[in-house]
């Protein structure tokens, strides 16, 4: 299933969201890394998700697929974040773990 790029960008945007003060509350048992770390991690993951898509599908189709999956991922993230922020965070972690396995499916 060629969705690993979307899963990585989901995690990337989760990091970027949690790097913002107004999205950091309500996750109490969870200890979040500092805003700075999350921001850097988020951008790195976003770059990774692009690289994965381009590596897999070539530049033209890769960038198209990356942007498409990124848009869906961030839209789903915002829906989930507004409703169950903890679940969104957990899903980002699970997705990130699953992504390398999906890449080989």
């Amino acid at each position: 299933m060629p969705y690993e790029s979307g899963l990585i960008s989901f995690a990337a945007f989760t990091c970027l969201a949690l790097a913002m003060k107004k999205h950091r509350s309500g996750l109490e048992p969870l200890v979040l890394p500092s805003e700075r770390v999350l921001r850097v991690l988020g951008w790195c993951l976003l770059a990774l998700s692009a690289a994965v898509a381009v590596f897999r599908l070539g530049p033209a189709l890769g960038v198209t697929v990356w942007i498409g999956q990124m848009c869906v991922a961030v839209a789903l993230l915002v829906l989930l974040l507004s409703w169950r922020p903890k679940a969104a965070t957990a899903l980002a972690g699970v997705g990130l773990i699953c992504a390398p396995f999906l890449a080989f499916l």
Binding site: M1, P2, Y3, G6, F13, L16, A17, M20, K21, K22, H23, R24, S25, G26, L27, A60, L61, T64, V65, I67, G68, Q69, C71, V72, V74, A75, L77, V78, L79, L81, S82, W83, P85
Partner: protein
């Protein structure tokens, strides 16, 4: 921002720009919103055009056949039925279409212009003519999304005007929205107007690349009609531009000397060698059975962004290659890629679902914008003015009633007898009578009840589809899951998902709306606005 045709008071340049853009953004969205919503929804459905067509002809089952065999079988059928035609068009099946489609154009006859022949469906393997229920299939949603069921060319012009409004609305919306990054992840529920603004912003901003792309490329699909002037500046005739841009296939007048048409298999193989293994999608044969006959193969575009197919033309009598399309220059290639990005034919099933979801965000963006217009202007203790009532009713008619109409089109396909004459037109009528009829009937109900009831009806209609499918065909959900018929299973499951979505919307509409209040204690952390003042400003910005 005001409804009256007057500008806001003068302000410093940056704020003045934002204000004028907010003003025009609201007008653009209001005037084109209802049609744009319908274009987005039916256009989104069109990403599954071949699948919808297959679902609407359950008598036909797809068989996988090599292109050479399908083409030769179709040619044999044409030679047996209409050997003396001027031109044969053969549309080969692929992994998304079950049948070969053929269309023949007769020789021009000055005395009696020949009647336009209908398109025929053939069995890919045998070339036998196939009988299935008459239906427009997915083609109907596709055609509607840019022709709007209006006479040619008015539908296309209206769709073009709406697309242009959409483009201007996107640009003005981005300029208006000054908190794009601060509010990037913000979506607050149950806060009245602010929730609608959040939802409008989120659906617009998060899928902005898609919205901008689909709007601009939509205009490009019909650019030859909307903007022919740059061509006229350089070429006397549009045909000359077409020939210069895409190459003109070699064609010669029929000599009148008969010569047998060579088998197309070797030609398809030769084309495959030139096209890194790709098969042709379309075979066009001119003057079959003549020494001057030509066979033009158009390359399947699957997997490549550029939707303009390469073509190779062979002599039908000698099998020699006569011409092939030139490799396009940067501008022609750009236009071809834009066309491809809009149509999405290149998309694998995984990407097609991404396209589908992004299309839904487009419909959500337009829909939430229209609702926001009403919510923003409704005063709690004042009777709504006429314009407000009108817009709200049109919102109900466009947003909540169209899904029922689309479901009715699909239901009609199963409920109208398969052999009834004129049934294809009846299916189309079912959609529009349901859509507009429901909109008229909903006028009898208070606005809030009308939202709930029309959305509830859409829920029932979509939920009924798998049931009716199972009752009227032998390809119901259980059977298709058991036999691994993923197209039919996926279709039924998608209908259930859409029903759930409509049901959720009806449920949300039935909840008592909360007035926006800073003091409301909400558990959701996203709702905890750290600074009330800018949040208020962002509401005013639109």
């Amino acid at each position: 921002m005001n409804v009256r045709p007057s500008f806001p008071a003068p302000a410093p340049p940056a704020r003045a720009l934002r204000q004028s853009m907010a003003w025009i953004h609201a007008w653009l969205g209001l005037l084109a919103g209802w049609i744009l919503f319908a274009m987005f929804l039916t256009g989104t459905a069109s990403y599954f055009r071949p699948e919808i067509t297959q679902w609407m002809q359950p008598e036909l089952r797809s068989t996988s056949v090599p292109a050479e065999q399908a083409a030769q079988a179709a040619i044999a059928h044409m030679q047996a039925t209409t050997p003396n035609d001027q031109q044969w068009f053969i549309y080969l099946p692929d992994d998304r279409t079950a049948v070969t489609r053929v269309f023949a154009r007769a020789k021009p006859n000055p005395e009696k212009p020949p009647a336009r022949r209908p398109e025929l469906k053939l069995d890919p393997a045998t070339g036998q003519s196939l009988e299935a229920r008459d239906t427009r299939g997915g083609e109907h949603f596709y055609r509607f999304h840019f022709q709007l069921q209006l006479p040619h060319p008015w539908g296309r012009w209206l769709a073009g005007v709406c697309a242009m409004f959409m483009l201007a609305a996107i640009i003005s919306g981005v300029i208006t929205h000054k908190r794009i990054f601060v509010d990037f992840f913000t979506l607050r529920w149950r806060k009245g107007q602010r929730s609608w603004l959040d939802a409008h912003n989120a659906s617009a901003v998060l899928a902005l690349p898609f919205h901008a792309m689909i709007t601009y490329t939509g205009l490009i699909t019909l650019v030859a009609m909307y903007m022919p002037w740059p061509v006229k500046a350089n070429f006397d005739k549009p045909d000359a531009f077409t020939a210069a841009a895409y190459g003109a296939p070699a064609e010669a007048k029929a000599t009148g000397t008969p010569a047998p048409l060579l088998p197309v298999g070797p030609m398809i193989q030769a084309a495959g060698r030139a096209w890194s293994g790709d098969a042709p999608r379309t075979v066009v044969i001119r003057n079959p059975g003549d020494t001057a006959s030509t066979v033009t193969l158009l390359r399947a575009t699957g997997g490549r962004l550029n939707a303009r197919p390469d073509s190779i033309t062979f002599s039908g009598a000698t099998g020699q290659e006569l011409s092939r399309s030139p490799s396009p220059g940067p501008a022609i290639a750009t236009a071809g890629v834009m066309l491809g990005l809009h149509l999405g034919h290149f998309a694998s099933p995984a990407l097609r679902w991404v396209y589908f979801l992004l299309g839904l965000t487009g419909a959500a963006m337009v829909g939430t914008g229209l609702v926001l217009w009403v919510v923003k202007r409704r005063k709690p203790n004042a009777a709504p003015f006429f314009g407000l009532k009108l817009v709200e009713r049109l919102n109900i008619g466009a947003i909540a009633c169209l899904p029922s109409g689309m479901a009715a089109y699909l239901l009609a396909n199963r409920l109208i007898p398969a052999d009834l004459p004129g049934r294809a037109e009846l299916e189309v009528k079912a959609m529009f009578w349901t859509w507009f009829g429901l909109a008229v009937v909903s006028l009898q109900r208070p606005a809030r009840r009308a939202w709930i009831e029309t959305l509830g009806l859409a829920t029932l209609a979509f939920a009924a589809l798998p049931v009716v499918n199972a009752a009227t065909t032998d390809r119901g959900l259980v059977a298709s899951l058991r036999t691994g018929d993923w197209l039919f299973a996926g279709f039924d499951l998608a209908m259930l998902a859409i029903a759930a979505l409509c049901g959720l919307a009806a449920f949300k509409a039935s909840r008592k709306p909360q007035p926006p209040s800073q003091k409301t204690s909400v558990r959701a952390p996203a709702a905890a606005s750290p600074k009330p003042a800018p949040a208020k400003e962002s509401v005013d910005a639109l």
